[in-house]
């Protein structure tokens, strides 16, 4: 089935120079010569000769040296040679012969502990394989390759989006695509079509044409604005939505307005309308759930938001958004689909010493101040600590006494205990509370309010049987001298025995932290900018389900110059609630639209660059023009429109079909659809609906759903336009490409067009699809990282790691850099969030940009990027085998064979196995002779990554010992760590790396995996790229000009082909 994967074979020409010099001459001057250009009539004769030679000379040698391990009895590495058909032209085994040749040429086979063939024997085997393969290649190049293939899910989505002028995720419900061996979903052989596809194609077309083609009058728009500020809502109506861990903004501080189409507050004209508007106002509010009370504040002029502190990725629950996040909550009064706009009025904040404002301060250190007496579970008394005892509270609700504790009667209901207490001196305090042990199932929580400042915390569940009282620090606080009011409780309240309020000791870690923060905040100037990130979601019992809405927007305007920031989206592609009006509870049917300050902070002491949000407005469905473009591009203005519906329909169909089929359509084709329209139009009341039904049929036609259809082939250039567009844009050709193709000028201008296409925004579709599949970024997306070990690996770090790699590849491509940049670069593509995660300072803001890196940062090239390193770990520690296989398959282009069946167990119980480093564990693995053969060939490529932990951060210690990243490569070279691997790859393997990139581009561009027959083309492109300083665009153009891409559409022009691509023989 495979020796070694199938890409990048045929390196033998280059390889021979380094491994078997003596053979070079032999191959260059073939003894037998049946691989020479031969007329077709003598092909049979050549095959016969080759077969004879196999039987007489080669087969006995293979039997002597190979069949022992790769024969009837044993199939090491899943390879069996004795049953291969020696006729490579008629048989189906050329690919496997090719892999075998590769192993012999690379010196891997026979293994060095086996008897080696003599030079003459080796020459006979190699020569026979090489020449038979040449023969097969020639025979194959005369055979047409299958070309027709259907659109992938992404291509389908992009094609519909362009065609209908609707940027929706059309394909999301189609079945996931299969992958080819090289990993590509656009490979014709991997793309399967089923009844399920057909059903979905029709359903999607119907549903989405219904969106594109609109009614006469626009739908009613839901348009609301919430304004936040001290007292702005006095005397008005607004929803205060509570529930588990909720933190609503008080009614008097929120002004809810229902707006008309001009953006003016609606004025009721009747008592009924007034009642109706009041009903809506009472279902709109602002919530701060998930936000720490000291990271936001209601000011006169708006809501102050510190830079958001990402939420801990605590699986499986507790998704509350970063802290703080501001949510406009719409209960029952929202549209379920369509475009919408979010307008946020905001500015930077004025400088302020927030840490000397009265109220709670989130914990800077979770070290308690009080403790228990050594001999009992009584509280050890500390001087000046104010102790509030549960049983002595002034007021309580829903609590019952259990021993010394007060605990809730029903944890699902809110409960509370209240106290008044006297603070003798203004200053910083620390608050601990003593509570009964709690299990995780009870979702133990506590809400603390002092005066008007509140915090909601999860209490860490007690491990084990835990009978003893627990002390949990609650908060710090800045309190002025005088009487204060404290409330403890909430939903899922854990209960308590005492609350201890102690002056924050000067030697407590929080003291220093707060002082430091105040100093930093004072220094922070307003020259910095923040950013707003919008999100949309729905409320869940334990948090929210949400998605980010586009890119964040930079906020740089001063506090006296509030500006409006607009965010757009489509509700159907976002996780909004499905409206269920039969559900009456006050916490259901809540849609969330909100923002946070996206200048992400790394710890609670970092206030970042605060912003003030004055108001948020939501409007949807939102159509700046009516009817929208999606409609008018189908039903365009024409003199025939009213005068002659028949002729107009013909026009409409011609235009739509030309775009859908990506070529000119014939009158006969149009006529079929016109007939269909005539036969079905009677079923529909409205003209547009009747035409829509025809368009549904157009979108189910194979001419739309399949690439490389014969009608496009006939018009030659249309096929080239399509091929270029789906290669570089993963989308249909745009107008310019279509026009050039129509005029027959595209071939002449291909270089200019490729340059334009690479600079175009749509190149991102290529970057996303190609990078994801070539580099297996899906593994990073699917990785569940152990958050206990890596608490700062947040969803934002994860997102930015994926972006780092795609930005990097795009940067290399758009700047036509050397392919060797993939191995090592003096820059990294970073934004602030990721740079800080990697420990690189001085990168400010959200946007990705090339950042100069020095070698001590260990961040150059693809090999040091988080997406690869994390995706190829096990979530807790580095995984050398995964990383090694990736380097071999993706960077060097020679994937190792799959693990054999029936892997013998390691010694079933190796004592202390888990205390060994992975490198040592691997050595144990390799000490088994049956594993060693293969593993010694690729393990070293993973061991060198030991310096990178499971989330791609550089480490010098692992498991309490210094990291050992030294290894011996299969060719005997000893290297230490990734830096030396990079040097080795650049120095000795540059051609292999180039060939790997070229092969992957080639497979992606042609929609089929590379086979041995493609090797001459791959070799030729590789040489061109190397000669041109490894430039990546030369590789892209080389692939485009290769016969497989270029010629297959423009049959019969073989003269140009041989000019463009010198045969490998000439090159030798």
């Amino acid at each position: 089935m495979r020796l070694n994967g199938i890409c990048n074979r045929g390196r033998h020409v280059a390889r021979l120079a380094t491994t078997a010099l003596a053979l070079l001459a032999v191959v260059a001057v073939p003894k037998y010569g049946f691989g020479d250009d031969v007329p077709a009539t003598s092909l049979e004769a050549s095959v016969a000769k080759s077969t004879r030679q196999y039987n007489d000379e080669v087969q006995p040698l293979l039997a002597k040296h190979c069949f022992g391990c790769h024969g009837a009895d044993l199939q090491e590495a899943d390879v069996r040679l004795d049953s291969l058909d020696p006729n490579m032209v008629a048989g189906h085994d050329a690919e496997r012969w090719h892999a075998a040749l590769d192993m012999i040429n690379q010196g891997y086979m026979p293994p060095d502990y086996e008897e080696q063939p003599s030079d003459e024997e080796r020459r006979l085997m190699v020569e026979w394989m090489t020449e038979s393969l040449d023969l097969a290649r020639k025979a194959k190049s005369n055979k047409p390759q299958p070309r027709v293939r259907r659109l992938t899910r992404e291509q389908y989505t992009n094609s519909l989006a362009e065609l209908l002028h609707l940027p929706l995720n059309f394909g999301k419900n189609l079945p996931a695509e299969a992958k080819s061996k090289m990993g590509f979903t656009n490979s014709g052989n991997a793309l399967l079509t089923s009844g399920l596809h057909v059903e979905y194609y029709q359903a999607i077309a119907r549903a989405d044409l219904q969106k594109a083609i609109v009614a006469k009058t626009p739908p009613e728009t839901f348009r609301y604005r919430v304004t936040v500020g001290k007292g702005v809502g006095a005397g008005r109506h607004a929803a205060v939505i509570g529930g588990f861990q909720s933190a609503p903004i008080a009614r008097q501080n929120v002004l809810v307005e229902i707006l008309d189409q001009h953006g003016q507050p609606r004025q009721p004209t009747s008592p009924d309308e007034q009642k109706q508007l009041r009903g809506i106002e009472s279902n709109i509010g602002v919530g701060m759930r998930g936000s720490s009370g000291d990271r936001y504040q209601v000011l006169d002029e708006g809501l102050l938001l510190y830079s958001a502190l990402p939420h801990r990725e605590q699986a499986p629950k507790s998704w509350q958004g970063p802290s703080p996040n501001m949510k406009m909550l719409l209960r029952r009064c929202f549209p379920s689909e369509g475009p919408f706009v979010l307008r946020v009025v905001a500015s930077l904040a004025e400088g302020d010493d927030d840490l000397q404002r009265e109220g709670l301060i989130e914990l800077r250190s979770s070290q308690p101040v009080v403790g228990l007496k050594a001999d009992s579970d009584e509280l050890a008394s500390i001087e000046n600590t104010i102790v509030l005892t549960a049983t002595e509270c002034t007021k309580q609700d829903q609590l019952v006494a259990r021993g010394d504790y007060l605990v809730p009667q029903d944890v699902t209901k809110p409960s509370s205990a209240e106290f008044d207490f006297e603070v003798p001196e203004t200053g910083y305090y620390h608050i601990d509370f003593l509570h009964p042990p709690a299990s995780a199932d009870a979702m133990p929580s506590v809400s603390l309010t002092i005066d008007k400042s509140a915090q909601h915390l999860r209490v860490e569940p007690t491990a084990g049987d835990g009978e003893q009282v627990s002390i949990t620090p609650l908060s710090h606080a800045y309190l002025t001298a005088g009487t204060h009011h404290l409330t403890l409780g909430g939903k899922f309240f854990v209960g308590f025995r005492e609350v201890a309020i102690s002056p924050l000791p000067s030697d407590h870690p929080a003291s220093a932290a707060i002082e430091q923060e105040r100093a930093t905040a004072r220094e922070q100037t307003l020259s910095q900018s923040a950013a707003l990130r919008a999100f949309v979601g729905n409320r869940t019992d334990d948090g929210m389900e949400y998605a980010e809405l586009g890119a964040p927007q930079v906020v740089a305007n001063a506090s006296d110059q509030p500006a409006t920031f607009e965010f757009h989206g489509y509700l159907e592609d976002l996780p909004t609630p499905i409206l269920d009006l039969s559900e009456k509870t006050s916490l259901s049917n809540i849609m969330i639209v909100g923002v946070w300050n996206d200048h992400l902070a790394k710890n609670p002491s970092d206030r970042g660059v605060p912003v003030v949000v004055k108001s948020i407005e939501f409007a949807g469905p939102y159509y700046p023009e009516w009817p929208p473009k999606s409609h008018t591009e189908i039903f365009f203005d024409s003199p025939l429109r009213d005068s002659n519906p028949e002729a107009y329909t013909r026009e409409v169909l011609e235009r739509f079909m030309t775009r859908a089929f990506r070529r000119e359509v014939s009158d006969a084709e149009i006529e079929r659809y016109v007939e269909f329209w005539q036969a079905t139009r009677g079923d529909f009341d409205r003209y547009e609906d009747g035409v829509r039904e025809v368009l549904v049929a157009v979108l189910c036609s194979p001419h739309f759903l399949y690439l490389e259809m014969p009608a496009r082939q006939e018009s030659g250039e249309a096929a080239l336009a399509e091929r270029l567009a789906y290669f570089l844009w993963n989308s249909p050709p745009d107008e310019q490409l279509a026009k050039l193709a129509q005029a027959g000028d595209l071939r002449k201008q291909v270089a200019e067009q490729v340059e334009r296409m690479i600079a175009d925004e749509r190149i991102n579709h290529f970057i996303d699809a190609f990078t994801d599949e070539w580099l297996r970024l899906d593994r990073h997306a699917a990785m569940s990282v152990n958050i206990g070990a890596y608490p700062d690996y947040t969803r934002f770090v994860k997102r930015d790691m994926a972006l780092e790699t795609s930005h990097f590849v795009r940067h290399v491509l758009q700047n036509n850099m050397s392919l060797m940049t993939f191995v090592e670069s003096d820059f990294a593509m970073l934004n602030q969030n990721l740079a800080e995660f990697y420990g690189i300072q001085g990168v400010e803001g959200n946007h990705f940009r090339p950042v100069s890196v020095t070698p001590d940062m260990h961040r150059g090239g693809l090999l040091s990027q988080g997406a690869f390193l994390t995706g190829h770990s096990d979530g807790t520690q580095a995984h050398p085998i995964k990383r090694a296989v990736w380097v071999k398959a993706k960077i060097l282009g020679s994937p190792p064979p799959p693990p054999p069946p029936n892997v013998p167990e390691l010694d079933p119980e190796t004592p202390g196995f888990q205390n060994l480093t992975l490198k040592e564990q691997l050595e144990l693995h390799r000490s088994k002779p049956s594993c060693k053969d293969c593993h010694s060939k690729f393990d070293p490529f993973g061991v060198v990554f030991e310096n990178y932990d499971a989330v791609g951060r550089f480490q010098t210690m692992a498991k309490g010992r210094p990291v050992d990243a030294r290894t011996e490569l299969p060719d005997g070279e000893t290297i230490d760590g990734v830096d030396q691997l990079k040097t080795y790859l650049l120095g000795k393997r540059g051609a292999d790396v180039t060939r790997s990139v070229v092969s992957h581009l080639y497979a992606y561009a042609t929609g089929r995996d590379v086979t041995f027959a493609d090797q001459p083309q791959i070799d030729s492109i590789t040489s061109q790229v190397i000669e041109d300083d490894y430039r990546i665009q030369t590789a892209v153009l080389g692939v485009i000009r290769s016969p497989a891409f270029w010629q297959e559409s423009l049959t019969g022009d073989l003269a140009q082909l041989s000019e463009a691509v010198p045969s490998p023989k000439e090159k030798r």
Binding site: M1, P144, P175, G188, G195, S588
Partner: protein
């Protein structure tokens, strides 16, 4: 079909809130149906169901102290066997199931275990480069059992689609071993099979079917006319599209025939259709089993396959141990692990899987139709295509249900390691009334010393 189409909203299903009595929702679209209620079938329906888990099972060697505690296979043999902690969740169903040891597909024994997953229900031969997989047993059954139901089969997996050759994401394969994409979006599944055209009248639904059919006809004509212009290779790709079109056409015809027959009203309890397998796998798996139960209850189909996770650490399943049990490693990593206590980790995860399966069986057992408990007329096979990782022999298998079809449960039956698993597949097909003597490389029906497992019901 958008997840948020008009239909879905009129069903009033809310995200994150329990759907109370999906039975009511099921019945909704058919309230106006004019036809007489479906007469009770004369003979009991016979059903077949397959449920798969990847990466083999925890099998500590006998010398290891963990053996008696964490071995997937029970201790002892015959009727006198004891479950270890792993399959202990199935204890209450003992009289309704048999544990089968020793079986495997001969063609796959020398393959990497992960690859054998492609052949679990096909017994295909993947040793060559041509990837000669073949039709799966469930699809053979679907041809017979599907004649009297709305859909021939329901093909499900947690990951959806087909995965790729050697690491599939579906258990079902059609003619020539062509994989059938599995469905995995639960709300979509519900809408597609149980609430299509919710709120519409019979006449409206008839019209909508007619429209679908017209379009399929037009596209078929178009596609067929193309064939002449295509080379041989390309023709096969268009053939695939044509085949897909005609399968849809068949299904539309079938739907037309069933149009006047109301979907039986069933009480399916509470179902949450918005479970995310990347967040809460237990909830996701249970919803999938709930959907399968509704499909059986409503006799929507009699053949079901469900691949709970993919082999080799692909897809959602890899993270299930982390999410469900707070184990630090993924499933595939656990299956390779050698650290202290690894057998208990693997065993606990296998136990968790068994708990989910037990949930399914218990639901089937507790519900009945005119012919008794649903489980008694449903033959369910649960298992994997390797024993310990990479060893495609001695598949861990549990056969459950089907007592009314003559299956005699209650034993742990160990087979000789030469016995092809296809023999079991043949006997299962025979049990549900598919008259075949041969499937894949079977050498005959499944036999066992002593009392037979499969008997002709008397």
């Amino acid at each position: 079909m958008s997840g948020r189409s008009q239909n879905s909203r009129s069903l009033k299903l809310s995200r994150r809130t329990w759907l109370r009595g999906a039975g009511v929702a099921c019945a909704l679209p058919y309230l106006e149906a004019m036809g007489a209620a479906l007469p009770a079938a004369k003979s009991a329906p016979k059903r077949l169901c397959y449920v798969y888990f990847p990466n083999g099972a925890s099998l500590p060697p006998e010398s290891n102290p963990a053996h008696s505690e964490w071995s997937w296979f029970p201790m002892g043999e015959g009727t006198d066997y004891q479950f270890t902690k792993v399959l202990q969740p199935l204890e209450g169903l003992r009289s309704n199931l048999s544990v089968l040891g020793g079986l495997s597909h001969p063609n796959s024994r020398q393959l990497l275990g992960h690859l054998a997953g492609d052949t679990w229900l096909t017994a295909g031969d993947l040793r060559g480069s041509a990837y000669n997989n073949q039709i799966s047993a469930d699809q053979v059954a679907a041809r017979h059992l599907g004649r009297g139901t709305r859909y021939p089969s329901l093909v499900l997996s947690t990951d959806g689609g087909i995965g790729y050759k050697s690491r599939v994401a579906t258990l079902s394969f059609g003619d020539g071993g062509r994989p059938i994409p599995a469905e995995n979006r639960q709300r979509e599944i519900f809408e597609r099979y149980f609430s299509g055209g919710a709120g519409a009248t019979t006449n409206e639904r008839r019209q909508s079917l007619a429209r679908k059919k017209k379009i399929v006809d037009l596209v078929m004509e178009d596609t067929a006319s193309l064939q002449r212009q295509l080379g041989q290779h390309d023709r096969s790709r268009m053939d695939e599209y044509l085949t897909s079109l005609s399968s849809v056409e068949e299904q539309i015809q079938r739907n037309e025939q069933w149009l006047d027959v109301p979907l039986p009203e069933v009480d399916s309890g509470k179902i949450d259709f918005d479970c995310n397998p990347a967040v809460d796998p237990t909830a996701y798996l249970r919803t999938m089993f709930d959907l399968m139960v509704i499909a059986i209850q409503t006799d929507m189909t009699r053949v079901l396959t469900y691949m709970m996770a993919r082999e080799d650490g692909m897809g959602f399943g890899e993270n299930f141990p982390k999410l469900a049990l707070n184990i630090k490693k993924g499933h595939h990593a656990i299956s390779h692990d050698q650290a202290d206590g690894h057998w208990s980790e693997w065993g606990s995860y296998d136990r968790w899987l068994a708990e989910q399966f037990a949930y399914f069986l218990t639901r089937l057992e507790s519900l009945s139709d005119d012919h008794g408990s649903l489980l008694d007329n449903t033959l369910v096979l649960y298992g994997s295509a390797c024993s310990t990782t990479h060893n495609a022999v001695n598949y861990p298998l549990v056969l459950a249900g089907g007592s009314a079809m003559g299956v005699r449960h209650g034993r742990y039956i160990k087979q000789h390691e030469e016995t092809p698993m296809a023999n079991l597949l043949v006997s299962m097909l025979n049990t549900v009334g598919v008259p075949t003597e041969q499937f894949g490389d079977s050498t005959g029906p499944f036999t066992t010393p002593g009392e037979p497992l499969f008997t002709v019901p008397g």
